[in-house]
Symmetry: C2
Subunit: 433 residues, 2 copies
């Protein structure tokens, strides 16, 4: 039986999960693939830690370059993360004619255009199913299942940490800070949670998805990103009362010669299936001209779900190697010559309906001042809500608008913020259907 040699760079959570599944489910994978996947080498700086795996003699090394230079290894799993050594190792692997599987969304979002070109020039593949939405086949679905569809939009909950925190605020009414601390205590958030809670991790994933959905070059820098740190239990209470949930969404929409691509907290109605995605789970809805709306839902992170996605890529590459058909599916979904540089709309140019929370001094005439400024900026108010609650002595005023332009909203809110009767920065949250 044919054997295919694999090398893993990095035995962190996902790398360890891959090694575990390759060893524990070996006969299952062989019974489907018809060939053996051999874990020939694995590199990590820390070889002392007990990972619950018995590696054969000679498999482990502290030097990942030994692995990418091993002529017997055909597939490299880059599971180190980050943008420095991982970049060098992937380029070296490509240079050595090896195929690469990576979960490194940060690197693909920033250096993907270059890496995919290098791989194509060398006739090797970079596979990246584990980089977005964990176990869910979002890359395969966009590239293969929806091949006959013009993708119209993608909307996803792509960061388990943020979804866990927002669910905790919703369920327990605690503050953002306390929910974050809870998430950290339970292992759902990193010690430095910036990448997650500020929306950057979600943006990395969105940059990849937009590219393969629309046939555009990867463009991270023009994606609008706003995190979840300003969301309070008051906002979530309001949402709850009026039939909404607040989720950190990655949104991309095709608009002819440009696309929208943005990451921000979003109010969605309970009729939207994403509103039922709670805790650390992820989900992605995709709209295509033939399929209408479809959704994938499951574990977007974690050792075994992400490792499962990585092995589906290993098997895909192995099948290609066994059949000598390595470039069967284009890495970025479209044939290289059809990938265009489609611009992303500046966020100022989008239209949306909005939720606003104002914090005002309890004085007569406040509402008239706020609504006057909104009117001056062509923002029409759908409803106004006030409660008895006070926050730091100020009274919260909630509003829902009709469709308005982002640029006008920014100007109006800045003007309102400068009013003497306004106690705190106004908070806008965009609403999606």
């Amino acid at each position: 039986m044919k054997e295919i040699n694999i090398g893993i760079l990095g035995l962190g959570t996902v790398g360890t999960g891959i090694a575990k599944i390759l060893l524990e489910n070996e006969s299952l994978i062989t019974s489907r693939l018809g060939a053996k996947l051999i874990l020939k080498r694995a590199a990590d700086l820390d070889l002392q830690r007990d990972r619950g795996i018995t590696f054969k003699d000679g498999v482990l090394t502290t030097d990942p370059f030994e692995i990418v230079d091993d002529p017997d290894i055909e597939i490299i799993l880059e599971m180190i993360g980050g943008e420095t050594i991982a970049y060098d190792l992937i380029l070296k692997s490509i240079d050595n004619g090896k195929h690469v599987v990576t979960a490194n969304k940060a690197l693909l979002a920033s250096q993907g255009n270059l890496l995919f070109k290098a791989a194509a020039a060398k006739g090797v593949t970079i596979a990246f199913e584990p980089s977005v939405a964990g176990c869910m086949p979002i890359i395969k679905t966009l590239r293969e299942t929806l091949v006959a569809n013009h993708i119209q939009s993608i909307c996803g909950i792509l960061n388990g940490t943020c979804n866990y925190i927002l669910s905790k605020i919703t369920d327990e009414g605690v503050s953002f800070e306390s929910a974050l601390a809870g998430a950290q205590a339970e292992g759902f958030a990193e010690a430095d949670p910036t990448l997650d809670i500020e929306g950057f991790d979600t943006a990395h994933k969105l940059a990849i998805l937009s590219s393969i959905a629309f046939g555009m070059e990867i463009n991270l820098k023009d994606i609008y990103v706003e995190g979840i740190t300003k969301i309070t239990p008051m906002d979530i209470d309001f949402a709850d009362q009026y039939g909404y949930k607040i989720k950190l969404l990655a949104i991309t929409k095709f608009a002819g010669e440009s696309v929208e691509a943005r990451v921000h907290p979003t109010m969605i109605p309970l009729s939207n299936p994403l509103s039922n995605v709670n805790g650390s789970l992820n989900a992605v809805t995709i709209s295509g001209d033939a399929v209408g709306d479809m959704m994938l839902y499951g574990h977007g992170a974690g050792m075994m779900p992400t490792a499962s996605a990585a092995i589906s890529d290993i098997v895909d590459i192995s099948r290609a190697l066994l059949n000598k058909s390595v470039s069967r599916v284009p890495m970025l979904s479209f044939q290289t010559e059809n990938i265009r540089n489609i611009p992303i709309h500046p966020i100022d140019e989008i239209s949306s309906i909005y939720y606003f929370r104002f914090s005002a001094l309890d004085q007569p005439g406040v509402l008239s001042k706020i609504s006057g400024i909104l009117g001056d900026h062509d923002i029409s108010i759908k409803s106004v809500h006030q409660t008895e609650q006070k926050l730091n002595g100020a009274v919260p005023i909630f509003m829902l608008t009709h469709q308005a332009r982002e640029a006008q909203v920014k100007k109006a809110l800045a003007k309102i913020a400068s009013l003497e009767v306004i106690a705190d920065e106004p908070l806008p949250i965009r609403i999606e259907g």
Copy 2:
């Protein structure tokens, strides 16, 4: 640019959808595939009907055998349905060395073992993504994405007609008969709805899914099937009050040396994401040892969603043809020599928790008689509920049980049904977590 010739047999709803997408989205598909898909021939008995498509001269014929005998055509789309002429046409296509895409779950469920063997012997592929769950990539996900997972169970809403009817009873409180008539008027149910409402269509799909999930031969005849015709608004009201929904589920579970495979109305708690799948939508949850639970959700039928799935299969085969790698993924997920004849449990041997609805005369001592018989059969009652409502002069009694054996339940309900105080056949509904 390389061209691949395609022939469609049957220009009904799905066949017409495929032709439409091939023509309308031609340049999109080419920009992804890197080759042209040419609709060379299409057969239908009715060539007069306006399908909103301009076919080139010479494409249409009334004789499907002309197409399967055309030496220029490499891929045949069997979109006729049924088990007679479709069977002959698929066998002839295979015999002529052509690849086949089919949405014909009834045929695959009954004759699949034979057809897949014939295709393997000839070195051609039968692709069948459109046969289950419309646009959703359930076949691809089981065969490719979850390749590293022992599949533990699959649970799905796979019939849009039944889900539409159950949603209508839930939302409008109407009877089954009235909901069915509504579904027929709105085009969501056939004039003869038997295949759908009795659960057979769902069973066909489950036979296919169980096979590729577990590596077993296709086995339709041992699947337990129960339709939705006995469900009343009362059952749905009860479910609603106690936090459940009633759905027609296809359930298959791996149990070591055998599997469960059954189709029946099922109560599921609101925390189960399938409970939120309403109207004609479909959804499938899959549990794997690495991925945990994941779900696919979308349009399970209809012209364009099903056509989209068919074209994903055409493109997969085309990619294989372009790369000369036709047997890249085994048709039934496992290498032929690893496909076993795994038996399906008789339904009598399963355990479940149950909802029972009894219809009893309004007399003292009824509850004691019923609970006595249940106790004699080792069925322990979790709760009993009675309402003021009456149905044909009788009083409904609702019960929820703890885990019980199906064989015991059948015996107990038969005994209870024979009591003089019981006015109507007792209705059991199995409950899944």
